[in-house]
């Protein structure tokens, strides 16, 4: 691999920092004008870079790209470097994609606060990129907090009652989660003397032989609780629907599309796959039970919601449950399914949030029971909504089918038919609440109030089409993607 290639990976951390710098120096007026444009360009750059990186990894048949230090006073082999493997790059791609969607549709939604919005979004992206790239649990925590802090502020960026409420709830729960995570890191540190991924993987196979095994168990409890809060698993999920519902549209696209997945699910996958690869059935069982509860709870609760975004929040709980269920199987198939579902979820949930933003913008409402018959006026939004929800339900040609299939097969192999069938049955509930959305908003008789509504503006349309194409394309090209993943041996 060319040496300069690793340096080019600074794009992930450098581009957003550069944007912040440039926007701050450019002066308020110019910055307000160009901020959103620059924002989605960052998204595009990130998508392109990650795709190129994946292709190069494949080309050179390497497991990961590693970074040297940012600066070097004295080379130290304990250096906290960054590293990007295929899973990181998929996550980075998702971040870029959702960033693009959020910025591209933000223009009409965010208005005068473009400058501050862009700056905080850049911080958030930095946080998530860092999450994807770090190789050290403590650094993971640092970037977790960066992402968190910027999301609290972004949720309450309008300083209205709703946003502040959602932001504060998220902040409190998240702060507790961070504290829990840190406790568990400290306890792990007592046992290993390091928090780097490869060092802590030592505890996976033989935690009983460590110096303080009881503390490791306590650490596991705190770890599970902390990350369950961050990813919103039932019963740690209280903040999630509130935060999703209260956030301004572009921020909820970001939150629902990627943030929760990065701070919670990505971290869980990383830790479980590094820490507990073939070990603890206890941790896996815990995650499995929590995941099942989330799947059922999220789906059932979503069926009774009125607010579009809140409904999507519950749906996220359910879908995150599927991802964690895949992870909890602890076998390769489950990981592939989880990672692919991670990607799919980013795609279709972003589509749905974009749609919710589009509908909200056009009608001024987010209560789905008051709408109806919008499919005629907003055909692209309606169609992309159908594609997205079919993918979420897991209908064959679409991408969501494959990931769910893999997860359920993996669950079947490791945990037996009963749990797999519970997951399958919950899938029907998924169909129920999505059909409810579709029926209430897009089908049925046209509400007279909305007789003169038009299709959403160009930004929305383009994003919806692009994301739908990704959903369908990934479904059709799934075997190729699978080959790629296998070639990397990441999963």
């Amino acid at each position: 691999m060319p040496a300069y290639f690793a340096t080019s990976m600074y794009a992930f951390m450098g581009a957003p920092l550069l944007v912040i710098l440039v926007l701050t120096l450019a002066g308020r007026k110019l910055a307000e004008k160009w901020a959103l444009t620059v924002g989605y360009i960052v998204g595009i750059i990130q998508m392109l870079t990650s795709i190129i990186a994946i292709i190069l990894l494949w080309q050179y048949n390497k497991a990961s790209i590693t970074f040297s230090q940012f600066w070097s006073i004295q080379a130290n082999d304990g250096a906290a470097y960054f590293s990007a493997d295929v899973f990181s790059l998929i996550a980075l791609f998702c971040i870029g994609m959702v960033t693009f969607a959020a910025f591209y549709t933000a223009k009409t939604m965010i208005g005068k606060k473009a400058f501050q919005f862009t700056n905080l979004m850049m911080v958030m992206i930095l946080g998530m990129n860092g999450l994807a790239l770090v190789t050290d649990l403590f650094s993971l925590y640092v970037f977790l907090e960066i992402t968190g802090v910027s999301s609290y502020v972004l949720i309450s960026i309008n300083r209205d009652n709703k946003g502040l409420e959602g932001g504060f709830k998220y902040l409190i729960m998240s702060a507790i989660a961070s504290a829990f995570i840190l406790v568990s890191l400290a306890l792990i540190f007592i046992n290993t003397g390091s928090l780097r991924y490869e060092d802590i993987s030592a505890i996976s196979s033989s935690w009983m032989e460590l110096s303080n095994p009881i503390l490791i168990l306590v650490a596991f409890v705190f770890l599970i609780c902390g990350f369950s809060i961050k990813s919103g698993l039932v019963p740690f999920h209280g903040w999630l629907p509130d935060a999703y519902q209260s956030a301004p549209a572009p921020v909820s696209i970001m939150l629902g599309g990627i943030v929760t997945k990065m701070v919670g699910v990505y971290a869980i996958i990383r830790i479980v796959s590094n820490l507990l690869v073939e070990s603890d059935t206890v941790v896996n069982t815990c995650f499995m039970v929590l995941a099942l509860m989330s799947i059922i709870y999220g789906a059932v609760a979503a069926a009774g919601q009125k607010d579009f975004k809140r409904l999507l929040g519950y749906s996220s709980i359910s879908q995150i449950g599927y991802i964690i269920l895949g992870v909890s199987t602890g076998n390769i198939l489950g990981y592939i399914g989880a990672i692919f579902h991670f990607f799919n979820h980013a795609t279709f949930k972003t589509t749905l949030f974009v749609n919710s933003a589009a509908v909200e913008q056009q009608t001024g409402l987010s209560d789905i029971t008051k709408m109806g018959g919008l499919h005629k006026q907003m055909p692209i939004t309606g169609t992309s909504n159908i594609i997205a929800f079919l993918s979420a339900v897991g209908i064959p040609p679409l991408a969501g089918f494959w990931s769910k299939l893999f997860i359920i097969i993996a669950v079947w192999q490791t945990n037996g038919a009963i749990i797999a069938s519970i997951a399958l049955v919950a899938s029907i509930f998924t169909a129920v609440y999505f059909l409810r959305i579709q029926k209430n908003i897009f089908f049925g008789p046209v509400n007279e109030k909305f007789a003169d509504i038009k299709e959403a503006v160009k930004g929305f349309k383009l994003t919806e089409i692009a994301l739908s194409v990704i959903t369908i394309g990934c479904g059709l090209l799934f075997p190729v993607l699978l080959l790629l993943l296998q070639a990397q041996g990441i999963v």
Binding site: C225, I229, P235, T281, V282, C286, V300
Partner: protein
């Protein structure tokens, strides 16, 4: 000439005559349907040409050698395989003859009928399918043609009265059930034999699944032939379907196909021995069919319906004969099948002439037609004598063979057969007397001076068939010389040609006939009307009620089946309601309840959220403590 034709077709180009037998009628059928409606003449000519061509090919097959063709097709031993040998040569020829004669008849009959085009089309398709079914040498291929006949049967039943599809449905369902059984039987047979090639399946032992396979195939075959309990659509169809259809399908081609398959099943496929339980079962079916159907025929007041019941009853004789599994019975059965097709065709055609001229076949409305239609009447009389088994007509000789076999198998069967013969004779005496003799009576809308003999094209087939009745009776050695070799070694060198060897049986038969005449005479004397000559049997105490019930279709297996289906469908409906309730009410209510509970769960209170978080933590801790 036919040899030349045969060799011309089979040699050189590689096109096989066997496949031509199937393709040519089907192709001509397609051409028939695209000919414009106005040019009835062109259509009719083409239709006739098609049957003539078919007849020519059949003759050239008949004079040709035994041959086989095989085109590998699907896997699992399913090949497009056709074979012609002595039996199928004969059957194909017979089918072609009848098809030609009935076609000639129907050209005249169908004139001015709106559905003539469809009729010709279905007729030719039927012919192609019958040829295919007779020539098939692979069970699946045979099943294909066999099932195809179901479609044309439905089509032909429905074209006359598209607005009342009940009869067509009935025909379809009853035949469908029979075909389903056949399909099942074929599956088992193929499994037992390990092959689907029909010429390779020989003497499957009658044990275990073999019995099931035999019974299924046998039921499928006799179902096609129209035996009980698959019979009840025939009388209904007789009332409504076009008459040539009755003459060609239920009376002729279906009988031939059904008996052909029954013979093959009993003679070659399965190890079917005289005196075995299954033999008695088959004979019982035959005996019951023949007695019950003829008893029903006795009281009919409509010519077509009466004939159709006879069509069922005569099948009983054939099944009885074949069911004995004795050489004499099987030869008798096959011979009777040929004879039956001849005289029953002839009878139906005379009924058609009557319908054409008088506008109805209801015996209450017509009488003394012999004065206007002498040739028809003569043909009718010959065929009636033949079916009643009067020497020296053909029916007599085949019936005697069956009587012989029945007596050998069991006296009870013989008595049933004799009873059948008595009732047959009685009902035909009644029919002939009522329709063609006695005082002239015509429907109100037909004037006496308009009544005249049927046109020549209709008379010719009748005359030919009547002639065959006599010819096959007097010269019974000719058909028997073709039939007897079919049995091969089983025959044991016996020859049933000529006068029946058992004089006692002949005397009994003649006695029974005389009894029938006496019965008719007494009945006629009592009531003074030919049509009421058998009323004393009809209104016999006890029997009368049974007849009433039968007339109301209480014994119709179709109705019983439908009743059963109604019950099942009601049951399904109830279950469906129940499931519906579960989905519509229980499910929705449960989900609503659950959703409400979960909404309360997320009350918006931060402390509540944190409390739930603690619950979760406690839960995880519990899991750790429990699982470690």
């Amino acid at each position: 000439m036919f040899n030349a034709l045969n060799s011309l077709i089979t040699s050189g180009s590689g096109v096989n005559l066997l496949i031509i037998m199937i393709i040519v009628p089907a192709l001509l059928a397609l051409i028939t349907i695209i000919i414009p409606k106005r040019s009835y003449f062109g259509r009719a000519i083409l239709f006739l040409i098609a049957t003539v061509v078919n007849l020519l090919f059949a003759i050239s097959l008949f004079v040709g050698e035994e041959m086989t063709m095989l085109i590998p097709w699907a896997d699992f031993g399913i090949n497009l395989s056709l074979r012609v040998y002595d039996f199928s040569q004969f059957m194909v020829l017979a089918a072609a003859c009848f098809a030609f004669l009935v076609a000639l008849y129907s050209i005249s009959f169908m004139r001015n009928k709106s559905y003539s085009g469809k009729f010709f089309f279905y007729y030719l398709i039927t012919l192609a399918l019958v040829n295919g079914a007779l020539l098939a040498n692979n069970l699946v291929v045979m099943l294909f043609f066999w099932e195809g006949l179901l479609v044309t049967l439905f089509g032909m039943t429905i074209i006359g009265n598209a607005k009342r599809p009940a009869v067509a449905m009935k025909a379809l369902i009853l035949n469908g059930v029979a075909d389903l059984l056949l399909m099942f039987g074929i599956a088992i047979t193929a499994m037992q034999a390990g092959t689907m090639a029909m010429d390779m399946i020989v003497d499957i032992p009658m044990e275990g699944l073999g019995i099931v396979g035999f019974v299924c195939m046998m039921l499928g075959a006799i179902g096609k032939a129209g035996s009980m309990p698959f019979h009840s659509w025939i009388p209904d169809a007789a009332e409504q379907a076009p008459l040539p259809f009755m003459a060609i399908l239920p009376a002729a081609l279906e009988k031939m196909l059904g008996i052909y398959l029954l013979v093959r099943v009993c003679l070659t496929f399965y190890d079917f021995t005289p005196g075995s339980t299954l033999s008695i079962v088959v004979m019982a079916i035959g005996a019951i069919t023949l007695v019950l159907a003829v008893a029903m025929a006795l009281i009919q007041k409509d010519m077509k319906k009466l004939l159709s019941y006879h069509a069922i009853s005569q099948v009983g004789y054939m099944i009885l004969g074949i069911g004995t599994a004795l050489p004499v019975g099987i030869v008798g059965g096959i011979f009777h099948m040929i004879n039956h097709v001849i005289y029953k065709c002839c009878l139906f055609l005379t009924a058609g002439s009557v319908e054409k001229q008088a506008g109805t076949t209801d015996l209450n409305k017509i009488s003394g037609l012999g004065r206007f239609m002498p040739i028809t009447a003569i043909c009718f009389i010959i065929a009636a004598l033949s079916i009643s088994g009067v020497p020296p007509f053909n029916g007599f000789f085949s019936k005697e063979l069956i009587f012989d076999a029945a007596l050998e198998s069991g006296v009870i069967f013989y008595i049933a057969a004799i009873l059948g013969a008595f009732l047959t004779a009685a009902s035909f005496l009644k029919l002939g007397h009522a329709a063609f003799f006695g005082p002239v009576k015509l429907p109100e809308d037909v004037r006496e001076k308009d009544m005249m003999e049927a046109p020549g094209a209709m008379l010719l087939p009748m005359i030919v068939l009547a002639a065959f009745c006599i010819f096959f009776g007097v010269g019974n050695a000719i058909p028997l010389s073709i039939i007897q070799p079919l049995l091969g070694d089983a025959l044991g060198g016996a020859n049933f040609a000529g006068w029946p060897h058992s004089t006692v049986l002949v005397l009994i038969s003649i006695g029974v006939l005389l009894l029938a005449v006496l019965n008719h005479y007494l009945g006629y004397r009592r009531t003074g009307e030919g049509i009421k000559a058998v009323d004393h049997i009809h209104y016999l105490p006890g029997l009368h009620q049974v007849y009433n019930c039968a007339e109301k279709h209480y014994f119709d297996p179709y109705n019983i089946l439908m009743l059963l289906f109604k019950f099942i469908s009601y049951l399904c409906f109830a279950i469906d309601r129940c499931i519906n309730w579960i989905y519509d009410v229980l499910f929705v209510k449960t989900i609503q309840g659950a959703t409400t509970a979960m909404k309360n769960f997320n009350s918006g209170s931060t402390s509540r959220y944190i409390a739930w978080m603690f619950t979760g933590m406690a839960f995880v801790l519990m899991m750790f403590i429990l699982l470690l």
